[in-house]
């Protein structure tokens, strides 16, 4: 009793289960798959700020797991982040950095800066050497102006005037490369973002459903959930079907009384009260 003491964890990675996992896989265990977002996410800088856009389809291999998921994540009131890759990873990493930013705001009494979010994200992703499969488009407006960055799963970042990520990034990038110019107005920026996402939705199988847009300017953020619905779900008429008389041809008629009326052969019929 006296001799056995729990050695406290040294911190860092704990690889205890790796041998056991390898043994299970060798014995035929099929590891569970990841739900990926198979996505088109875009961002661009316009005259007064940034516009972010995303589609809303989450795939699990060939199946659409979620028809209308939210890929534009909240980081700070003035910073939003689109995520592509493994859904759990994008969700967890953006949540984590969002909480860290809030604590930082309480500690400094200042509005969060986009580079802060960027540095927190890239250090976390680099530490996990690409195993956290999150490809992000981070955009926001702070005291130093509008910023747009892309963050890759291994932790590298780019600072760009326009950016696309995800499986539909090529289709969306073709729209941006041919039509982007500096100094776009708000309306032009939203239109270009929506067109780029639509290019991804219609030309990439991993993207689909609706277009979400987020417009961030100095002092104001507008999250336009379902800004466009280019694939509406059509239902049958709400009035139901109408089967007027004469729709169906009557071949023969046989009427049978369900409630049998007894025939009184002797005596009086019962008195009805």
């Amino acid at each position: 009793m006296a001799g056995s003491m729990e050695i406290p964890a040294k911190g860092g990675f704990n690889f205890d289960l790796c041998r056991r996992n390898a043994m299970l896989e060798k014995n035929g265990l099929k590891m569970p798959g990841f739900r990926k977002t198979g996505t088109t996410i875009v961002g661009l800088v316009f005259r007064d700020g940034v516009v972010l856009g995303a589609d809303t389809r989450a795939t699990e291999g060939p199946i659409v797991a979620d028809k209308n998921c939210e890929k534009i994540h909240f980081m700070a009131p003035n910073i939003y982040c689109c995520g592509a890759g493994t859904a759990a990873d994008t969700e967890a990493v953006t949540d984590m950095v969002s909480s860290q930013l809030q604590l930082h705001r309480y500690a400094t009494s200042r509005e969060s800066r986009v580079v802060t979010a960027l540095t927190l994200l890239k250090t976390h992703l680099f530490n996990y050497q690409g195993h956290v499969s999150a490809a992000l488009v981070l955009g926001g407006v702070d005291v130093t102006g509008p910023h747009l960055h892309t963050v890759y799963p291994h932790g590298s970042t780019d600072t760009l005037p326009f950016a696309t990520m995800g499986s539909g990034s090529l289709a969306a990038m073709s729209v941006f490369e041919s039509r982007y110019k500096e100094g776009l107005t708000r309306g032009e920026g939203i239109q270009l973002v929506a067109d780029a996402i639509c290019a991804g939705i219609f030309n990439d199988l991993g993207s689909g459903s609706n277009v979400d847009v987020c417009v961030i300017t100095k002092g104001k953020t507008e999250y336009l959930r379902t800004h466009q619905e280019p694939n509406p779900r059509t239902y049958a008429s709400s009035k139901g079907f109408s089967f007027a008389k004469g729709h169906t041809e009557v071949l023969s008629t046989k009427i049978r009384q369900l409630k049998l009326k007894p025939e009184v052969t002797e005596g009086d019929a019962m008195e009805e009260e």
Partner: protein, 248 residues
Amino acid sequence: MDGSHANAAAAAAGGGEGTQRTLNPYVTGNSVIAMKYKDGVIMACDTGASYGSTLRYKSVERIKAVGKHSLIGASGEFSDFQEILRYLDELTLSDHMWDDGNSLGPKEIHAYLTRVMYNRRNKFDPLWNSLVLGGVKKGPKGDEKYLGMVNMIGTHFEENHIATGFGNHMAVPILRGEWREDLTFEEAVKLIEKCLLVLLYRDRSSINKFQIAKITTEGSTIYPPYALKTNWGFAAFENPSQGAVGTW
């Protein structure tokens, strides 16, 4: 016993001693973009051919006229394209020798190429190309424009606009959004230049030297190569790590 079985199997797999199979492409051409427009078909590509990751040849013509009514453009292994041109020469020559007043139209040439590509694929010896075949020929309903493509496994289809290689991912979304039936030649050139510019920016093996070709009832014209103007003057490119240290 086992040794001879293994040898027999290896010989069967390797196809015997003398035969060669195309296992990898070596000198490859880039995307080809083509579309129908008001007067016929327009086709464009760059004039580069890469040897792996080296840009080996910079003045290569990957669009050629076939007969009187068609244009063929190819991406993929360049030597296989040269072989296909020889097959087409034989085809058009024997067609000409019939001297019957009829000449092979684009639809017929496309069908011929489809058979050639598919049969080579079935012998596990493909011609490593994606071919684009376009042309105009007088038919029962007047001048009929035709545009189709065949790839190395024999998949073939006909469309109003075609792009091969990387163009499938980057040019097709633009064409699907902006192509119209009644484009004039100038509008078609502008649209195709839009696609070529996007590919120049985003395809690593693309070069800034393009050739456009068109085919109408008058015949085919392959224009001399020229370069497109690129724009790199974005403010964010000037000093990207100014606001964010450690970023590119």
